[in-house]
Amino acid sequence: MSTTQHLSARLALATTGRVLRQLRHDHRTIAMMLILPSLLLGVLHLLWRDLPTAPGQPGTFDRVGLTMLGVFPFVVMFLVTSIAMLRERTSGTLERLLTTPLSRLDLLLGYGLAFGLAAALQAVVTVTVATTLYDLDVAGPVRLVVLIAVVDAVLGVALGLLASAFARSEFQAVQFMPVIVLPQFFLCGLLLPREQMAGWLQAISDALPLTYAVEALGELGRSAEATGTMWTDVGVVAGAALLALALAAGTLRRRTD
């Protein structure tokens, strides 16, 4: 009916608290969220541990491991959010929420903040394990790696909220993961440097937000300080997340058939 969105920090925060409380009751999900990325990174560490590296070049694990620090939160938060939102839709709680003073924007920001916080915790654990246990070399400040991981997570949350609008079942929702995530992963420059891609693939790569997240992490891998390119990349990823949130708000219809 009304398109006005009255943003209320109080209601958004109440929603963040509710989502975090739901997470807290699910111990296994918390454990997997916090530990799984570190374990997977451990596998990569062992895989490339004895691989010789060209002098002056970053080791394979340093390059891939650093990139994965941005990919994990994106993938995990995309999945968690799209399922959580689908549950809101199918359980009737979404319809109910839309009859309360909570605005659609409050709801989406509440989700973004809750899973953003979870992602921050995940990033701190993973980055700490990677730099201490696995000797991951990062030239730049580690706190900026965490920041980029969190922005990636928020992007995952935003795209997950958007994707859930197009899923009618959990089966469909989980399959949106490969649809949304894998093309971005293939074309982000990790499997093949972007300069070596065919022109049209590079053009697609330019349009995908994960590309910028990976580039930002690459900057931190090489440079001791934050670079202008890195900040631009962070801005692009954050902008893409906001765009996806706005589109997701458009898919939350107060009135349905």
Partner: protein, 239 residues
Amino acid sequence: MDAITVTDLVVDRGRRRVLPGLTFSVPAGEVTGLLGPSGSGKSTLMRAIVGVQRVRSGTVDVLGHPAGSPTLRSRVGYVTQAPSVYADLTVRENVRYFAALYGRGVAEADAAVADVGLRDAAGQLVADLSGGQRGRASLACALVGAPELLVLDEPTVGLDPVLRVELWDRFHALARAGATLVVSSHVMDEAARCDRLLLLRDGALLADTTPAQLRTDGRSHDLEEAFLNVVRAREGVTA
């Protein structure tokens, strides 16, 4: 004064016309029962009243505003037929969340939990509750907002008789305090507990009446029997 005014309401769901043109009003401060068999359009009508149903034409005014207006969202409470609460939260956490959305505090939330008889189950996950308890948890999430209009879709299904009576007493207490309640049911023995009755069949309003008037018109003390007589008389006329 009328709490709800519905004029020429037409609602289609898919290709089916569920409500072919309803006109009625609901007086404020009373318990109005919306009765009719499953599939008669009760839930659709309730969704239109709370403003989540896409309508084809006609108007629904609630407390002086078009249904679904932002200003109504803190004044109207809605409980769906299937309990819509978070299964992975405790009863208390659910009610406190909805309390926060309505600008109420923890004390009001705990009172609402007690009001629906779930004080002892407050710390349990909703997933671990029985169906009837879940329904009451869902009801508490609406009661906590102290709404002026409470729209309840089959709130007493699956409840034991003692609890059912307690809830009806609570509904009447709310009405005495000034609230308007619209309660749907498909069992006629609940009709006797309402101040007013709207009898719905195939999306059409068969009667806008009171239990006493229905007994007179249907020539039976038994409301189910009276309802059937009214249906037969109506169909005899249209046939």
